[in-house]
Point group: C2
């Protein structure tokens, strides 16, 4: 049975490009999976708490040794991991803030990585490999090969490495130069920005076809 988990993380509300991309993706997914169910989580309005001194080790100690605060934190980890296990597909909106992921996305991943939940206790292999994880990414500038800030997008490279221990293998659809429209200094980049956005939208529209639909296969 197909189930979608749709996660947004932008703090920019209606003007967010990543939210626009996840919304379109969710729409296309629904069209390809009539009657299937969707769970929505908004890290922008409901952030996952930081790991902190009171809760951070919840995922490193045995149940018997957990404090009350650690019990609460571990329960949230279990809830987040279960949401992913229940989903056949995850959509994550991932804007780039100050060359990294939103701190809410980091906190979420920190909760997701937990031996006994997302990593097998005995074999240490990832337990989430059955879920397709699609990232709809946006970034205000240009980070492509040959640009001055090539290699400055630390969100995507980090996310792939971090999630690998859970078995999740994110694939990315990215729209970049998203601030070109609003920034007069980037006016000359508007055509490139439009091209990047159009490519992302086209890639989204190709995500689910009858052939690729696991229910139709």
């Amino acid at each position: 049975m197909s189930h979608l988990l749709h996660i947004d993380s932008s703090v920019r509300g209606d003007v967010s490009v990543s939210r626009r991309l996840t919304a379109r993706s969710a729409d296309r997914w629904r069209s390809a999976h009539p009657g299937a169910t969707v769970t929505y989580r908004d890290l922008g309005t409901d952030p996952i708490p930081h790991l902190d001194a009171a809760t951070g080790l919840a995922r490193m100690v045995t149940a018997q040794k957990r404090s009350a605060a650690q019990d609460v934190s571990f329960a949230l980890s279990a809830e987040l991991v279960d949401e992913i296990k229940q989903a056949t597909t995850v959509l994550l909106g991932l804007p780039l803030y100050n060359f990294g992921p939103p701190s809410t996305v980091k906190a979420t991943v920190d909760h997701l990585i937990a031996t006994g939940l997302s990593i097998d206790t005995e074999t240490h292999t990832g337990l989430l490999r059955d879920t397709d994880f699609i990232v709809l990414a946006s970034r205000g500038g240009g980070y492509g090969p040959g640009t001055p800030r090539e290699g400055w997008d630390h969100a995507q490279t980090w996310l792939t490495h971090a999630l690998s221990v859970t078995g999740l293998q994110p694939r990315f659809i990215t729209a970049e130069l998203t601030t070109a429209d609003a920034n007069p200094k980037m006016a000359h980049l508007k055509p490139l920005a439009a091209e990047s956005l159009n490519k992302a939208l086209a890639a989204i529209d190709q995500l689910w076809t009858a052939d690729e639909d696991e229910d139709a296969a």
Copy 2:
């Protein structure tokens, strides 16, 4: 007048290696700057809040357009930037969690990067270039050249890029393989771990000498 800002971010309390390194650094700094003052901030016990939908744009809009929640968030940015401006030296403890910085460090940097506070409104140059920013980093595994996880430390590369817009130029002292002592599978790496820690401690002891002390110069 010399002033030190000492920031910790580990969630591991007394067993934290990064806290051990910042404590030793602060001790050495005090010895080299008798009578000078120190401010301490603990992101492990008092995390900086995430940018979220209510507060995230506080640093992108004019004062007149800020909501009450954005006013609070902007005031915290101003406080954090001022702490750095007041300091001649910053020590930041930076553990590596799931191949990235603690989310509290990301949230702090998101607050620090603000036009009008840390970036000049007219010239867009960084305003924090007078502060020496030293990072005491720890990481559980090995990430050196030729190791399987070379390039997986996204905390250090990200931090350098993110802070560059403020003029801060972090320099790093790193102890790695810090979990070798506790992890039986890493027993063979204990000598390398000890070597890494000893190198970090020696580097700390070389940080402030009479010649390098700005008050003595």
